[in-house]
């Protein structure tokens, strides 16, 4: 049993290396002194981070992406949580159809959804704007929120709510003082998940953006098609650090494994 176990360890080590490789490469390449992207980096400099200051468009895109992601995560968490409450606790006609409708964005390739949204927006005359992006991203993220919150609501002991009601608490008090705290982890997980999904989305945003309204992933994608300098790796590195910080927060609040395990069910 010694040898298989050793072989398993070596194999897994290689796989972890494979998983981390592109991220490490991007981080290290951003330090190169050359005018082009190269790995391993030649020399070490922070020049490309300083050059970012002159490329204000990246900062604008970053801020836009953050605003869109925050808006998406806020709206989709609220409406997703409300819908989950109805789905788990009420019976109503057409329930199955509604559950399927809310889950179906996961089945639709996002390219097709992006195209459909672009056509629809141009018909109703909604130009590229944070709102237009947020509406699209809500569709992508509500299914996750519903899944996570529903998982938290199933097996919820309702006698506590009833006790509160009998003691004279109004429905809103019950919701904010009892229900919400008990499903908190699902709701937070949904919010963080929505934020990351929206922040990372290229496919749908690619169709909606205009020359003034460009999210960071789209900015990086289009920049790379014309130029190949290390600015792109420095922007990317900042994004990676940003995400890692977010990940540490999730880990502290909930435990990363838990958040993503429930995504699977």
């Amino acid at each position: 049993m010694r040898l298989p176990r050793f072989a398993l360890r070596c194999f897994c080590f290689l796989v972890y290396l494979f998983l981390l490789a592109p991220i490490v490469v991007v981080l290290l390449s951003s330090l190169t002194t050359t005018e082009y992207i190269v790995f391993p980096p030649k020399g070490i400099t922070l020049r490309w981070y300083l050059e970012l200051i002159e490329h204000a468009e990246f900062m604008q895109s970053f801020l836009l992406s953050v605003v869109v992601a925050l808006g998406t995560s806020l709206v989709s968490t609220v409406i997703g949580t409300l819908a989950s409450l109805a789905i788990v606790r009420r019976s109503f006609p057409g329930k199955t159809a509604i559950i399927q409708l809310i889950g179906s964005p996961l089945l639709i390739p996002s390219v097709v959804f992006g195209v459909a949204l672009l056509q629809f927006y141009s018909w109703i005359g909604l130009a590229a704007s944070p709102l237009a992006l947020i509406l699209g991203h809500i569709i992508l993220t509500v299914p996750f929120v519903v899944r996570l919150v529903v998982a938290g609501l199933v097996g919820f002991d309702r006698s506590i709510e009833q006790a509160a009601r009998n003691l004279g608490a109004g429905p809103f008090t019950v919701f904010f003082r009892i229900t919400l705290p008990m499903i908190k982890s699902g709701v937070i997980a949904g919010a963080i998940f929505s934020f990351i999904t929206s922040f990372d989305d290229l496919t749908v945003a690619l169709f909606i953006v205009s020359t003034d309204v460009v999210t960071l992933p789209v900015r990086i994608y289009t920049y790379m098609q014309y130029q190949y300098d290390p600015i792109i790796t420095s922007v990317s590195s900042i994004m990676i650090v940003f995400t890692v910080v977010l990940m540490v927060v999730i880990e502290k609040v909930l435990g990363v494994g838990k958040v993503f395990m429930s995504k699977q069910q």
Binding site: V15, I108, V115, Q162, F207
Partner: protein, 306 residues
């Protein structure tokens, strides 16, 4: 709710009850209303209009013509070039799924055996591709797989190859990127079923004298098949519909259906044709899921027997 239960039924309570039921009904729809409105207006309607578009003729000046036609679908399904694109899309999906499965099973097993901090750390490494922007990960691969990139240099210095291999803008490059992106879905799915195995089953096998390898193949592996299956379907359907990875690592050289949809609409401005390709793509992805739930339904019966 509770108030209803403690009210004693009296003859004149009926209208009161009806009122309460109606109020409850209104509350339900109030809860669903915001999500439904957004889904109907920004999901169903756009897709419906796009479907209509896919049934229209192409008009060079306006994009969408006036005539109804099935030409867009027929054109795609009767042209060997486009059928090749469907086949390539499916092939990349199958190869990606197979590779992801083979490399993620041992990893899932390894992680499920680990404990405490190590386990958390390993889970984090496995999940990291999910969290780091897809665009950035793909550019990481562009740097790694370039003709003078690290991978080629390593292979050259090991003398495994004589000349640099071309990875970028080939199916191999797309598969590598795709496995990387979709790997976490497979691992999580397999880990889920590994962790659901009752440890007493493994102890029982060992007490009955089974070697660790035998225990694995006779007990553990069969019990994780549903997880393997679920992961495979998820990876396959995500890979056929993914856009970012094939666009960056395959570009115009390795066209898949999602890229073709994008190209028709955004570059060639042939909306009806792009829409038709998009709906064929939906069809492929949906068929996978339906097939999956069919097989899962029958395999669950199989698992229940055990």
């Amino acid at each position: 709710m509770q108030a209803e239960r403690i009210t004693y039924p009296k003859p004149d309570v009926a209208p009161e009850k009806k009122k309460k039921a109606a109020k409850k009904h209104a509350e339900t729809w109030l809860l669903l209303f915001p999500a439904l409105v957004i889904f109907v207006f920004f999901f169903l309607l756009p897709l419906f209009f796009l479907f209509i578009t896919s049934l229209k003729t192409f008009d060079a000046s306006r994009g969408i013509g006036d005539q109804w036609t099935l030409e867009n679908y027929v054109k795609f399904l009767s042209d060997p070039f486009y059928l090749g694109v469907i086949w390539r899309t499916i092939k990349i999906g199958l190869v990606t799924t197979l590779i992801a499965l083979v490399i993620s099973y041992p990893v899932a097993f390894h992680i499920s055996q680990a404990k405490g901090t190590v386990k958390n750390l390993l889970t984090l490494i496995v999940l990291s591709p999910l969290l780091i922007s897809m665009v950035i990960r793909c550019y990481g691969w562009v740097i790694l797989l370039a003709n003078n990139g690290v991978v080629n240099q390593a292979l050259l210095s090991l003398r495994w190859i004589e000349q640099p291999l071309t990875f970028l803008y080939t199916e191999l490059g797309v598969v590598i990127g795709m496995v990387h992106v979709l790997f976490p879905y497979m691992v999580l799915s397999i880990m889920g079923s590994l962790e659901r195995i009752d440890p007493s089953l493994i102890r029982a096998a060992q007490n009955l004298g089974a070697s660790p390898l035998r225990t694995f193949f006779a007990v553990v592996l069969p019990l994780t098949l549903p997880g393997v299956f679920a992961g495979s379907v998820m990876v396959f359907s995500l890979s056929v519909s993914s856009f970012v990875t094939p666009a960056i690592l395959g570009g115009t050289q390795v066209k898949v259906m999602s890229y073709l949809t994008y190209e028709q609409v955004a570059v060639l401005l042939n909306w009806p044709y792009g829409a038709a390709i998009g709906f064929l793509l939906i069809l492929i992805a949906t068929c996978t899921i339906i097939l999956y739930s069919r097989i899962l339904a029958s395999s669950e019966k199989g698992v229940a027997i055990q």
